[in-house]
Symmetry: C2
Subunit: 360 residues, 2 copies
């Protein structure tokens, strides 16, 4: 018992029982130690103008708090310790990827090279535990053509299972058509893009920062929800109608907003007020229900999980833990104990993830 | 039938039936024509650096679109036309207030004077229809002492029923202790503060703006949710524990985030990462359940309304229409037809509002 830890950051005291489904956790994080070295260099140089990155990694790389030390330890392991933690928490398989913001804060050439190297490492790590680990592909949106090639290599050469993009790249979003080769490659490879949070860009972070609201408590959700909305509103999903996104934290609250999104999108399009809000082929709720999967990362809470199952459909909601940022065994038990049908539970924990990430 | 209107902006074609409860709509808007004149002057002068205000009122004041013309017409009426629209839509009573951003974009002296004048006008308008209209008090946070006095005058002299504040005032939020005389006055008068949206401040609006996401579709919710969170995290509700806020649009999605808010707030406080995130006496979910009421404005959608009733309690959710920004009769019918108990429906439409705003 470490007294300065919230209950859910402690080691498991709760016993996770057997289940008649596999527990596949779909938003799990990994970081090679050398990426922390690069982040340290970026912090020391002050070479990027990104107050969110500065405060977050200023904290995680340097803090002596139990939370920061534990995350630094757990996240860099791709072997026995990770598997032991999975065993203790009843997790059969992790879908894992390079932690946020990944290479998206690096200079372009370094980002492209580091993504490829990280993907090689991750594929090798997964090959050591083929039944326990499945990786997603890190890419450098800074070079869209290289990113598209890396997606193809990751799927067809490395045997990885999807793409991860950590929201904005130096304040730019995927609705910008210069990034569409990335969307095109993912659609062509029939593989999903996990749109993972990162800290809000400097153009919006200021009112979050002094009250500590820039990170996982709120800013991550706003940044990522805004990014997904920008993509939907832009018409990108009309151009790439088969493309699937995965959005954590139960869709960053977009399912809750679904009715108002449709209403105000329609009003905005009709009014012709914004050049950047053209008519789209489908309603925003259609994109949410047809092009987006959500995961339960950080949201091990029955009412919100069941709400998403109700409004998106049981096939669109997948379990995630958010290891090692959040890894309480009692959250696994709470999800096990949801008052939903066994069939719905198996979809939530196992079969949706198997289908979306082609795990079997 | 005007072809360029979304269905829900048309005149009622749906028949709203009788109900065995009063329908009280609690987030309804009004604007004296002379406030539009002041906004025109501010736009013409370019005297404030507020891109959100510029785009929004650049549109609403000048657009020839049916939506803009209709809103300009409906919102300025405080008499027979408003009552006729209420009758057509089955609304028994409006709780209404000066539309956003109210006086919060005016120079201080003008803001203080205009708020008082608007409150006089609104009180007189309500006196003409005592069973149909109940007003809230506009204040100028620019002068907190004057705002506190106006709250006292509004409650004790004018017979108004609460206070409205339209989120930020020139980028400043109510968690700043210089504004706490306003919170103190509201608590002392035992009257709620409606924390109403306005356009995000320039320090965060940029990534919303070019895709038309700055307004009611998303930016309003983020701005106002962030503001309410800042107040909760600051400890203001420990200093003013009896103070009640009302937050529209089903709490700007904060109820959906409740689990994650608690988890990450605890982690943030324990880590001591932010000077602006001190320990608080209660969990964020406690503030949500004990100091905040939510209304259904713009969210006439069963799944989200029932979710909020489930996680906040039936006593914490109130009906609102958002007239004239949203005024579809079919939304009233949809709310009438919610599959909840008659007792819960009466709380939603009538008795919660009567209690919170002291309407009887």
């Amino acid at each position: 018992m470490t007294p300065d830890l919230p209950r859910t950051l402690q080691e498991p005291t709760t016993q996770v029982g057997k289940a008649d489904y596999l527990r596949i956790a779909t938003e799990e994080a990994w970081c090679p130690p050398e990426m922390f070295d690069i982040y340290k260099r970026i912090l020391d140089e002050g070479s990027i103008d990104d107050p969110g990155f500065m405060t977050m990694f200023g904290f995680y790389l340097n803090s002596g708090s139990t939370r920061a030390r534990q995350i630094r330890d757990y996240i860099t392991d791709l072997g026995a310790q990770r598997i032991a933690h999975m065993d203790e928490r009843g997790i059969d398989k992790q879908v894992l990827f390079l932690t946020s913001p990944g290479v998206q804060v690096m200079p372009t050439a370094e980002a492209v090279a580091f993504a490829a190297d990280a993907n090689d490492q991750l594929a090798a790590g997964c090959a050591r535990y083929p039944n326990r680990l499945a990786g997603l592909i890190a890419v450098a949106p800074q070079d869209p053509a290289a990113a598209a090639k890396e997606i193809d290599r990751g799927i067809n050469k490395l045997g990885l299972h999807g793409v991860v993009i950590n929201s904005h790249t130096f304040g730019e979003y995927l609705d910008d058509q210069k990034f569409w080769p990335i969307l095109e490659a993912a659609e062509a490879c029939d593989t999903p893009i996990y749109l993972h949070p990162q800290v809000p860009h400097k153009a919006m972070i200021e009112p979050f920062l002094d009250r500590g609201l820039d990170g996982a408590i709120y800013g991550f959700g706003v940044e990522t929800g805004l990014h997904m909305l920008r993509i939907m509103v832009s018409g990108a999903l009309d151009r790439f109608p088969r493309l699937q996104f995965v959005v954590g934290h139960l869709g960053e609250a977009l399912p809750f907003w679904m009715y108002r999104l449709d209403y105000m999108h329609r009003a905005g399009v009709v009014s012709k007020r914004y050049a950047g809000m053209p008519p789209t082929e489908r309603k925003l709720s259609d994109y949410l229900r047809q092009n987006i999967y959500v995961t339960t990362s950080g949201m091990a809470w029955g009412p919100a999980i069941k709400f998403c199952q109700e409004v998106l459909g049981e096939d669109r909601v997948m379990y995630a833990m958010d290891y090692p940022y959040q890894h309480g065994a009692e959250e696994v038990v709470a999800t096990d104990n949801l008052d939903i049908s066994q069939a719905a539970k198996k979809k939530l924990f196992q079969t949706n993830a198997e289908r979306v990430f082609k795990l079997t």
